[in-house]
Every structure is written in C-alpha cells, then in structure tokens.
C-alpha cells in the first residue's frame, strides 16, 4: 500500500501523534505498576459511548468486551482478590511491573486510529502470607488499538498474550511441559471472559502469530484489529 504524500505540517503532526501514542502506552505501565486500574480505565481508555461498547481486553483465553465488563474483571474482581490477600493495607507486598519495549506503531493514513505492538518482560508479585510472596516472571506481547477522541489518543482494544510465566528464582525447566491451565496464575486471574476462546497457544511459541505485528493501513477495520473480530479464529455470535 502506497503511503500518501504529506505536507511538512501533516508529517510532523503524524510524528507527534506517534510520540503521544508511545506515551499513552508508557503511562499505562505506570498505572499498572501503581495498581491504579480504575483510574487507568478512566484516564487512558476510550470514553465515547459507541467506543465503550466495543472496547475489549484480551488475553490468551478470550476477550472481555465493553467497558462495563472490562471494569468488572479488571478492577472489581481484581480488587476483591487484592483485598483477600494477607497484609495490613490494600496492596501490601504487591508489585506489577510490565515495562513495554520493542514498540512498533502505525497511525492509520486517515489519522483517526493507530495500532501498536510491544513486548514486556514483566513481573508480578503477590503476598501469600505476612512474610512471603509469590514473585513471577511473565513474558508477553502487548497489542493495542488506539482511537483519537477529542484530539487525545485512547486505548480501545488491548491484548496481552502471555508466552510463559515462571516463579522467580525457580528453574523454569522443571515446569511441566503440558502445564494445566488451572496451574497457570494468568489463566486463573483472567476468569470467565465475555468471549472465551483460545487466542494465543503458548505451547507452540509464536506459531499462531497472535497478536500479529501491525502494518501500515488506510483506515480502521474491525477484521484487522486487536479486538475479538480481528482474531483469525473469531466466529461471530450469529454464526456460533
């Protein structure tokens, strides 16, 4: 696809847009690290009524669709789990660091949306008693569709595709080859999404190429998005 010819003013506006998009992704890392999940949804995610209905949060096992479902999973259920942990106050002994690297970002030629892919060598730590914690490494892709709302870039569809998780300080090579989902904390954490489906099968490395790297594009197309419709195995509700 041939890129349009841009004037200097148009080109520097697009350069600026990409830098703003990178900052939204980077800010989300800090929101997650500080466990500001509700604030993240309020500040960084889409707020228009139509976009809120189609917003999605995906992991290896499916998608939550709509901001209400996302909030229930990502904020309410999460907060209940954190409240139930040992510790004197909310969040004692917790840390969620998912720094985003290897950014690949394309803004649509029409300037209304953008798509980005990052890789995160991450860790999550949760207390298991007043003196001990479960600390884990997570290797994962982070893919985001962004929508420009009132001149600001907002997260619209987000996918975290986990490649592996391993307890810190433990020998990953001793993990079962066929690890049951129930023994995978990422699966347990994800609960029952709006659309349950296997989006990324980590048994086969990156064979499924999901989420796929973005490529230059003219305009948003849900079939080529990080929402559920963009997954190659997605089946529309009416066809299920």
């Amino acid at each position: 696809m041939k890129a349009p010819k841009y004037t200097d003013e148009e080109l520097i506006a697009r350069v600026w847009d990409v830098e703003e998009i990178k900052k939204v992704c980077a800010k989300r890392v800090y929101y997650v690290a500080n466990d500001w999940r509700k604030k993240e949804l309020e500040d960084l995610w889409v707020s228009g009524e139509a976009a809120k209905k189609t917003a999605s949060f995906g992991r290896n096992w499916g998608y939550y669709v709509g901001m209400d479902a996302i909030e229930d999973y990502y904020v309410n259920q999460h907060d209940k789990k954190i409240e139930a942990l040992p510790g004197k106050s909310h969040g004692d002994g917790c840390l969620f660091l998912h720094p985003a690297s290897t950014g690949l970002v394309y803004e649509a030629y029409d300037g209304k949306t953008a798509r980005g892919l990052w890789y995160c060598i991450s860790q999550e730590t949760l207390p298991v008693s007043e003196s001990e914690a479960d600390a884990r490494w997570y290797m994962e892709k982070l893919a985001i569709d962004f929508l420009k709302e009132d001149g600001k870039w907002k997260i619209w569809h987000l996918v975290i595709a986990t490649d592996l998780q391993s307890e810190a300080g433990q020998d990953y090579m001793k993990q079962k080859v066929y690890l049951p989902d129930e023994e995978n904390p990422a699966f347990v954490e994800f609960g029952t999404p709006t659309i349950p489906m296997l989006t990324h099968n980590a048994m086969y490395n990156w064979l499924d190429n999901y989420p796929a790297p973005p490529v230059p594009y003219r305009t948003f197309d849900e079939d080529n998005s990080y929402g559920p419709e963009g997954h190659p195995d997605y089946i529309a509700e009416e066809d299920r």
Binding site: A3, D8, L11, I12, R14, V15, V18, S101, T102, G103, L104, V105, Y106, L117, Y119, I121, W137, M139, D163, L164, S166, A168, G169, Q170, D171, Y172, M173, K174, Q175, V177, A202, M203, Y204, N205, W206, L207, N209, P213
Partner: protein, 258 residues
C-alpha cells in the same frame, strides 16, 4: 545543535525517518521471534550487494552469502529440529517448523538513532535484553534463556522505504532464566571447562563468512566491556567513518598488512 544547518523540511523528514527506523528494527524482533528468516530478509533488508550481517563468528557480506547463512542455513536448523521433535510430539506434524524451533525475542531498549543529514541513511545502536524460549523440544522440558546483546545497525532509504543495510550483533551474556550466574560460569569456562562441561560461546554450526571472527567478545571476568558498536554520532552521509561495516574486507586488510 549540529542539525541546525538543516532546513525545517529536512528536519521534519528526518524526525519521521527516525520513527520509521525504530519500526524496522522492531519488525526484525517480531520476524525473528517466529524464526521467519525469509520474511525478515525478504521484506526489511536491502538487497544491495554491499549489505552485511555480523555476529561473534564473523561477517557475511553480500546478499547471496547472507541469504545462504541467515535464511537457508537457519531454516535447515529448524527443519532438522522439527524432524527430531515431532518423533516426541507427533502433534507438531504438519506445522511450520520455523516458529516451533524456538522464539528468540530480542526486545529493544536504549535506542540511539541518527539520520544522516542527506536523509538517505540512518544508523542506530540498541541494547536487547532478550529471551529465547520453547516448550515442545527434544529435551522434553520447557526452557527460557536470557540473552543480552548490543546491536549496531545501518539503514538505507530505498524507494521511499527504510531497509537494513548492515548489522553487527554483539552478544554479551546468556544463561537460563534466573538460574545462571554468567560471571561464575565464565570463570569456570576459563579455569575448568572440561570438568564443568562448559564450552565456548557459540550458536551451533557457523555459516560461511567473508570476514572471520571473533568480531565481538562476550562478557568475561578477565576483560573490560567491549564497545564494539559505539552509538552513532550525527553524520552527513553513510561512509567508511560512519558505518557498522568496514568497507574493506578482512582479506583486503590482511593484504595491506603484507
């Protein structure tokens, strides 16, 4: 500021180019993570006869040698492993052997990118604290290695698209996730390699090269850090003083020495 002499138009074009180069470099990571050597070299590399790709073991020069070493040789490794692995895991039959070999995910941090004043080339240095992992393999246990490298990369603008021209890869440390003291391992490599069963750092069978290695030395307890691919400085145009690939080959340099 050096680029003050550039007019506003060229500075805007170069700012956009810097982002494009970041994307090309990231595309490399995502292609390589799937061991899609064909996709990587076909789509994001210049086919210029001057292109080069170097590692510890040496530097391949020219399109044919790179293709033989980085695509054909690499694909062969994947296919050989697939033949072994599918005897253990029959479910692998019929699947693309390349991504099943392993996922080599060379994450990118710490970019220093300079676009030439003439806008025709760009140079970048990067640090990659990466991971290499696989679940279904001949060892019958999952593995995740940690590999930290530096990259020195030259890019050129061809028909409006940014492409790789040269790359020098410089591995510094490697080990099992959370399980390797790489400094102690190097000490044992130096003092008791046979007793400890620790061989030299290699990537298996080396492909044919024009400039033999070693072109970079990984971390060692008896050596200072190796600044093999220093970050690029602002520059006017791609030339022998501003490139990660010397113009003269190893053989030509040897001949000059007599």
């Amino acid at each position: 500021m050096r680029n003050k002499h550039l007019d506003l138009h060229q500075r805007i074009v170069n700012a956009a180019a810097s982002q494009e180069v970041e994307n090309v470099k990231a595309q490399h990571t995502y292609y390589h993570g799937r061991a899609d050597a064909y996709g990587e070299w076909h789509n994001i590399w210049s086919h210029d006869p001057w292109c080069s790709w170097g590692h510890i073991f040496g530097r391949m020069r020219g399109w044919d040698q790179i293709w033989a070493g980085s695509v054909t040789h690499y694909d062969n490794m994947a296919m050989e492993l697939q033949l072994k692995n599918q005897k253990i895991y029959p479910e692998l039959g019929g699947l693309d052997p390349r991504p099943l070999m392993e996922a080599s995910v060379h994450t990118l941090f710490t970019d220093v990118i300079e676009v030439a004043d003439d806008g025709k080339s760009a140079r970048g240095s990067f640090i990659t604290p990466g991971v290499i992992f696989c679940r279904l393999n001949r060892h019958q246990y999952p593995y995740c290695n940690v590999l930290w490298e530096r990259y020195g990369s030259d890019f050129v603008l061809e028909y409006g698209k940014w492409k790789y021209l040269h790359e020098q890869v410089c591995p510094d440390i490697m080990g099992k996730l959370d399980m390797t003291n790489f400094a102690h391992e190097d000490f044992e490599r130096l003092t008791a390699p046979q007793e400890k069963g620790i061989g030299p750092v290699t990537l298996g069978e080396d492909p044919d090269v024009t400039d033999p290695g070693p072109l970079h030395l990984p971390y060692s307890v008896i050596m200072p850090p190796q600044n093999t691919v220093p970050w690029p400085e602002p520059y006017r145009t791609l030339d022998n003083d501003n490139s990660y690939c010397p113009v003269k080959t190893f053989a030509e340099l040897q001949a000059e020495k007599g």
